[in-house]
Amino acid sequence: MKPTRLLVLWLALSPLLSVPAFAQGAATPNVPVADAATAVVVAVRRLSEPQYRQSIADIFGSDINIDARFEPELRENGLRALGSATLSLTSAGFEQYFNLSQEIARQVLVPTNGRLATPCAAAGTAVFDADCAQQFLAHYGELLFRRPLTAEEMQSRLVMAESGTQRAGSFQTGMQMALSSLLSAPDFLFRLERAEPDPAQNGEWRLDAYSRASRLSFLLWNSTPDAELLAAANSGALLTAAGLQAQVDRLGASPRLGNGIEAFLVDMMQIDGFDSMIKDATIYPKFNQLVADSAEQQMIRTLVDHLVVQARDYREIFTTRDTFLNRSLAAVYQVPFVSDEEWAPYTFPESAQRAGIFSQVGFLSLYAHPGSSSPTVRGVKLHEIFLCEHTPEPPADVDFSSVVDSDAGTSRDRLLDHMNNPGCIVCHQRSDPPGLALEHFDGLGQPRRYENGQLIDVSADLFGAKFVGAPGLGEFLYNDPRTSSCLVRNVYAYGVARMPGAAERSYINAQIEQFAGNGYRVPELFRQMALTPDFFSVVMPEGAPLTATELADAGQ
């Protein structure tokens, strides 16, 4: 897929979005929501697959079957959330969404469903009922678009529903067509964030209430705003400190906060790619898709239990020996699975040298080659994920011949040989030490002490910081302040879909300090950040009007 830049998409969608008035009726807002005439779309983010699925479940019920392949997502600066702000749709991708919209509409309005077989009790099945249709579309339109429908949006769907009813001789069919139209609209498939002139600060912009609601909901619940949150946006309460506090308290107290934090952790820790992971069956015969799926689940279960359920210190994810196992994973770890449940808590003994999330099979196997471990790949990913330090791609003319021969010596020997190349040492002296500390785990993450008959040395020296093995690496990361600052920056970037810039430096530093003051508790970090005005700050996209006056001029 070819990503499209934000501005291109913004311009393409602008005509759809800058309609001047909201539909009249039940969904009509009665408070200061963004005046479309002066509103500007400042960010566009495609819903991720989990967000799409959860939104549909929340709006229509969890029994709606979603059987489809979704467009691949793009990771930028370590986060898919950032990539989502640059993604468009391919024609094939839109076709998938369109087919899915029809299927979901059919399930929602299927006559045998009973729940929504007829949107309104009084409606006949063959006669178009305008009031009923408007009531139905206003309700679900607001939930799907995360704001009330505009008059034009409503009118176009009413026309579609009426036409469909007449042509098919079925009101339900007409409503299915209108609902399908909502489900395949960019306003649903993309999170469109709008800015409006800030009445408190002349010439400044602020995020409108509905966009704030979406930002909150997707951060804290990884789903669409619920009716209460939309009502707070509709009433304008969300624009007040007290109203924001009330909603953050409510959302933050819900068990669904775990969904939001889990989605963030999966994104930040890059817990993906397990569906396409390949291992050489002759070298790692224990590997199969069940092991891959289990490894993914293990990382998620460990993180969620540690950071959400137990609300423990974030830095302990680098040192903890507590995790969860199933039978398949236990075989890979070469430990017994003592439980009659599918999954069971497990604490690695110290002798296993497993400490930290990076010593789990998921990380170790994902960041390795199909037939061997890779200290470099593991080290690059450790820096990227936990320290927010990105490593440049190797030069095109680099000679890898001494590294790829995994049948001779140890990885350390091969890499030292490789680093004799002065063009390589700059990056490798930073990337390799953490990976070398993990060499007691092979390319699948299985324990080992020897490679090609030679004892493996897992000591490491990272610019003078010396550590041994995974436990030593974990202690190093635990004590490195970059890990917590990286997390804070990532939470911010994940929530607002852009990396914090120089202007936000003091804000981020304050958040880091508060995070430490709260005992490095991640749920607290989410709540504290969601309450700050900076979390809803607006950065006008390039080419967008800078003032309301300019916007009005642009519309003429």
Binding site: K279, A281, P285, K286, A330, Q334, F337
Partner: protein, 421 residues
């Protein structure tokens, strides 16, 4: 190879006492656990070039494929009837008629599967070699075979009886019988695990070792290379029948029985029950973590024959090139043991099961802890299901044949073979 009843009785009593003691054994200092990934009758292969060709074990090779028309003619059928029954194009050569009629070739057309002595011994090619795998069950070096490594006194007349039958002959893991039953086991039909526990400081040399064989309902898992993966966890499933506990010792990493016991294992064969009297083990804990060796003893031979019969006699005969009464006579001829106090002749035959096991984790039946001790779990076993007729797939086997009561033609002593002209 016969053991005198008095010494058998003493050894059995000692074994029983030791096994009883196992259930209250002291806390083990060390333990190992394994899953049996392959097991087959220990049949030394002396073939030169092929499974069917001659070798030091079977100078004439395996029993050759039979001309079943001639067999039927010898049994009293007219040539026309025999050819009719064996003609593949004949629509009545169905399992319920043509094949089933193969059963009725005894004296007065008795069913030879249920009455093998109604048929003269067709004979099996004899295993005439001097080398055999297995154990020295009676402790007598002067009787029996010599092992492939030169150890005398190997008692394995089961091999002597059936070693030249195509079903059993072949290199390790390559005889048709071994492949068939181990494929079933490895694909989930059953799982047996082994727990080894010792009380000494040195697992390789420990005078107080216990070995337990248990069933598990957890399937083995094949890796990407098609082989069974090590290190999986198996929960002991208490079984009212299949369990065996051996008092033993280790010498240089080899586990040896210290007393014979009465053992019941899951047989990798149609018999299912591998009951062994005077059972012993010799299993090597190898450097690569695997376990390999033998479980030997005297097994009742008649159930072995009945196992083949109940696998559908006519099919077994056709596929394995043998007349089943020959198996009956061979087993009877080579039987070398009977339990103390029994006078019905040699009811048991010396036998060895070759076992290959992978390192695995074994946990107690309630999955609450790793099984570190060898104890009996049979008191927790659910009752055995009521025995029904032998089954092959969904077909009931009665007297060695599948009978379809709705079939137009029925086999039997008085069956009309040829259709009306």
């Amino acid at each position: 190879m016969n053991k005198r009843p008095s010494s058998i009785k003493l050894a059995t009593l000692l074994g029983a006492a030791l096994v009883a003691g196992l259930s209250t054994s002291a806390q083990a200092q060390w333990h190992r656990s394994y899953v049996i990934e392959w097991n087959e009758p220990a049949m030394y292969f002396g073939g030169e070039n092929s499974i069917e060709g001659p070798g030091t074990d079977c100078p004439q090779g395996v029993n050759p494929e039979l001309d079943w028309v001639e067999v039927l003619v010898r049994a009293g059928y007219t040539r026309e009837e025999a050819e009719w029954l064996r003609n593949p194009a004949n629509p009545t050569r169905s399992p319920v008629h043509g094949q089933n009629q193969m059963a009725f070739r005894g004296k007065d057309r008795a069913n030879i599967y249920t009455n093998p002595t109604s048929y003269p011994d067709p004979g099996l090619y004899p295993m005439t070699g001097s080398i055999a795998e297995g154990l020295n069950l009676d402790g007598n070096d002067d009787t029996g075979f010599v092992s492939p490594t030169g150890e005398p006194g190997i008692d394995n007349t089961f091999y002597q009886a059936l070693g030249c039958w195509k079903t059993y002959r072949g290199p390790e893991r390559l005889s048709s019988g071994a492949l068939q039953f181990n494929d079933g086991m490895r694909n989930g039909s059953w799982t047996m695990v082994i727990v080894v526990a010792g009380e000494g400081d040195d697992p390789a040399n420990d005078n107080n070792v216990s070995v337990g064989f248990y069933m598990s309902e957890d399937n083995m898992v094949k890796g990407g290379d098609g082989e069974i993966s090590a290190d999986y966890t198996f929960r002991i499933q208490p079984h009212a029948k299949y369990e065996a506990l051996f008092p033993a010792r280790t010498v240089d990493g080899v586990i040896e029985s210290t007393q014979p016991v009465h053992a019941m294992l899951r047989d990798p064969g149609y018999t299912r029950d591998l009951e062994l009297l005077q059972a012993q083990i010799r299993l090597e804990m190898r450097d690569d973590g695997t376990l390999r060796g033998y479980v030997g003893g005297y097994r009742p031979w008649l159930p072995v024959y009945e196992g083949w019969v109940n696998a559908r006699g006519p099919v077994i005969e056709s596929l394995t090139w043998v007349e089943l009464p020959a198996v009956y006579y061979a087993l009877e001829r080579h039987a070398d043991f009977h339990p103390a106090g029994r006078n019905e002749g040699k009811t048991h035959i010396s036998y060895a099961l070759r076992v290959d096991a992978l390192p695995a984790f074994v946990v107690t039946p309630d999955a609450s802890e790793v099984a570190t001790e060898v104890v009996s779990w049979q008191h927790q076993a659910p009752p055995l299901p009521t025995a029904g007729p032998a089954m092959i797939g969904r077909s009931r086997i009665i007297d060695g044949i599948v009978i379809d009561p709705n079939a137009e033609h029925q086999a039997g002593p008085d069956a009309v073979i040829l259709p009306p002209q």
